[in-house]
């Protein structure tokens, strides 16, 4: 289902944490970044890994997949 509206912001934070944990996402501190949505690439990477439609957008199916119980090891690199 769609997320209840008030949880959208929480979901963005959840998704960022998920991508940091499992897809080596690092939030760009400097604002010169060219990316409008720095997370989009990492969302695409995660969608591709799980065989979801690769849109780069945090849609419902992507968020549902992020909320599944899982292993704590990253999907794209080992623990440093």
């Amino acid at each position: 289902f769609p997320v209840a509206p008030e949880t959208e912001k929480e979901d963005m934070q959840f998704a960022q944490k998920y991508l940091e944990n499992f897809y080596d996402f690092k939030e760009e501190k400097n604002f010169r970044t060219t990316h409008l949505n720095p997370m989009a690439d990492k969302i695409r990477e995660m969608q591709s890994f799980f065989g979801l439609e690769v849109t780069g957008e945090l849609n419902r199916k992507t968020l549902d997949m992020m909320k599944q119980p899982r292993c704590g090891i990253p999907d794209v690199r080992s623990y440093s």
Binding site: F1, P2, V3, A4, P5, N21, F22, F49, F50, G51, N59, R60, M65, Q68, P69, R70, C71, G72, I73, D75, R77, S78, Y79
Partner: protein, 394 residues
């Protein structure tokens, strides 16, 4: 594998269980972990020896939250466990999140320790995650029957790329064969509230001109149309109508709703069947339900309701029973005085019973048989009549 494919440079690997979860007996934990090791030794030349003191290659422990490495656990759900690739010190070690509920077999809620241990030990031996759905090394937990669990081919390929196939002798030092006591026979699914004799039937065609519905509700901007065990889902986010079954979303709810409505301010949908009702939020059924419809103020003579619709502006909910309707005040949580009233009197042009109803954009949509009536909420005037399935873009 992990970057640079770390692996154990020997065939004899040691392990030690440092502590236990209170969720299972120690014997069950030992059995689950031993069986997980056997899974890997049966397809490689590796041999695993258990130590009871000192430093082993693979140190196994249960912990919650921060537990001394840089990767704290996160409470129930989310991350279940993690493990380190082969190496010295923390290399190979496996940690299970004690905030999860660990179980021996899938007969009740919780995470199967054998399955998760087998996955994590895959990491301890050098495997990374697989994106092959159904592989043991797939990152997301999937409950499955573990009685005769066999390692999927993708995992065998991965581990044998690191260690090769087993030698002819049994790879795991001969041990008391730990037969997995046959998991208790799966307990009967908790009986649904009402035994549903919903005869398995073909899903009705979307564009059948005689299509009728049992109940309809909005849900977070979408519209759900119910008939028997089927759901049609119209979403503003997707052009296509999605076809599902009730059990897809609420496995424990009986099929064949009589009525449904959404209180969007509470992110809550109420389902009615016979003389009971349930409240759900998204996929989650609220605790304490079902409740008898008399809790809402219906007289005992009312055994079931035909339809319900919530007026989000007026904060009232209309319940339709036969040719009459009640108005429920969501503020006072009680039926309004002076009800029931005749539908035909207050909603001119709707001269019969109502099967289903929902509200959208200042209009009520009432369904009777294969016809649908659009009514302006403010003046309760009938605006137009359509076919019930006009929302399916036939």
């Amino acid at each position: 594998t992990f970057p640079r494919s770390p692996r154990w440079k020997k065939e004899d690997v040691t392990f030690r269980i440092l502590n236990y979860t209170p969720d299972m007996s120690q014997a069950e934990v030992d059995e689950a972990i031993t069986k997980a090791f056997q899974l890997w030794s049966s397809v490689t030349p590796l041999r695993f020896t258990r130590l009871y003191s000192g430093e082993a290659d693979i140190m196994i422990s249960f912990a919650s939250g921060f537990h001394g490495d840089f990767y704290s656990f996160d409470g129930p759900g989310g991350t279940l466990a993690h493990a380190y690739p082969p190496g010295n010190g923390i290399g190979g070690d496996t940690h299970f999140d004690e905030d999860e509920f660990w179980i021996k077999s899938n007969t009740h809620e919780g995470y199967n320790l054998f399955l998760v241990a087998a996955h994590e030990l895959g990491h301890s031996l050098g495997l990374g995650h697989s994106n092959v759905f159904g592989a043991l090394m797939y990152p997301i937990y999937m409950a499955r029957d573990t009685r005769n669990y066999r390692l999927p081919q993708d995992d065998i390929n991965g581990i044998q790329a690191l260690y090769g196939p087993p030698k002819e002798s049994p790879a795991f030092p001969p041990q008391e064969p730990t037969e997995m006591t046959p998991a208790e026979a799966p307990t009967e699914m908790s009986p649904r509230e009402e035994p549903t004799e919903v005869t398995p039937s073909e899903r009705p065609q979307d564009c059948d001109p005689h299509l009728t519905f049992d109940a309809i509700t909005t849900l977070r901007g979408e519209i759900l149309f119910f008939k028997g065990s089927y759901v049609w889902r119209k979403s503003p986010y997707f052009s296509e109508i999605e076809r599902d079954t009730i059990s897809t979303f609420w496995p424990s709810l009986a099929a064949g709703f009589d009525a449904a409505y959404e209180i969007d301010k509470k992110d809550r949908v109420i389902f009615f069947k016979d003389n009971k009702y349930w409240a759900v939020s998204g996929y989650n059924i609220q605790p304490g339900f079902p409740k008898p419809i008399q809790n809402l103020g219906f007289p005992r003579s009312v055994k079931k309701i035909d339809a319900a619709v919530h007026d989000q502006n007026a904060k009232k909910t209309y319940f339709f029973v036969g040719n009459k309707y009640w108005s429920f005040d969501e503020h006072t949580q009680s039926m309004e005085r002076g009800y029931p009233r005749k539908i035909a009197v207050d909603f001119p042009g709707i001269g019969h019973t109502i099967d289903a109803a929902f509200q959208k954009n200042e209009h009520f949509y009432f369904f009777h048989g294969s016809n649908q009536y659009e009514v302006d909420i403010k003046n309760k005037k009938l605006v137009r009549t359509m076919k019930s399935n006009s929302w399916f873009d036939c």
